[in-house]
Symmetry: C2
Amino acid sequence: MPAKRPPVPLSRERIIDAALHIADGQGLRRLTMRRLGDALQVEAMAVYHHLPRGKEALMDALAEHVTAVRVDPGGSGAAPSWQDLARAWARASRTALLEHPGVLSLALVKPPKGAALISIGEQTEQLREAGLGDAAPAAVRALRAYVLGSVAVEVQQSGWADPDADVVNARTAEGEREFEQGLDALIAGLGG
Amino acid sequence: MPAKRPPVPLSRERIIDAALHIADGQGLRRLTMRRLGDALQVEAMAVYHHLPRGKEALMDALAEHVTAVRVDPGGSGAAPSWQDLARAWARASRTALLEHPGVLSLALVKPPKGAALISIGEQTEQLREAGLGDAAPAAVRALRAYVLGSVAVEVQQSGWADPDADVVNARTAEGEREFEQGLDALIAGLGG
DNA sequence: ACCTGAACACCGTTCAAGT
DNA sequence: ACCTGAACACCGTTCAAGT
């Protein structure tokens, strides 16, 4: 028996991973500094050394984590149309959000900051250069609204936040179909 | 000086009103049973008599309050088109949600129950009878997603949930323009 | 620099008791 | 039937102290 495995040092990244795991598994209301400390084999107060603003900072970081997304516009080959780019951003955002339903309510309500804000800026710039021009900011807002709304409805229907969770439904198949369908309609509408 | 004004008896309705006031004014995280009691001139524990499941029931009731909406299909005169009905439902839902940004995160994530569920049923039935037929349920989901997403983005941009709330922006004018525009596009898409 | 332990003010909820 | 008061387990955060 090794007497002491040298404890993996705490880090912002490990903290956020553990927090996501708790929130997804037990709900945001049960994500507590003390429980977070337990999961990391550490006293709750150790977290404050890596997130100085405490729980407020943690919540911000979680929202950022599921909202910051990156899409590669594809350097080689033909430049993609703005329609293709819009589709790629919408899909990437949706999957990122669906991966962590436990913190969805944060992402839906908190104003984007840091990496999330940069992500939106990149998206706007790509769409602008791909042909949308000055219509890009409004298009990004419309796409964001569509993605956020779709994911909200999907998660509601999955019964995720239900205290009497009979079945946490896995009907993501139909959800994706409807998502793609609505996305087509929205992109078509953005063209007019 | 009247020695005792006979205290207005507590009621579910008064509790919910006070809770909305606190949530909108100070944020959901500061809505606490004790503060709620204070606002109602009562001990916190009195609330449990009217909401037996305590804070859980309170949260459910708040979500229900901003999600349950009623639209009169207009008995006299010509029957409205499903397009007009869809517009009316979307507008009514949006205003109900924007009225209480403090509990928006609940409405976005909690599966609809009680009055909220009935509201969705009515909307589906009206759209079905107005000509959408079996396409009504999917249309209602699309409309709900659009409304929820739009309001989420609007509230984010208003800086409502921002701890460093420089200005709680009142740019609802532009928000409404964009909302109506996207709504037109969506309804057009539902027709195809 | 990084983590601990004790402490403080506050929270949700119970339960017996008052009227 | 409706509300209170005391109590319990738990929470976020501080601060001085350890290494």
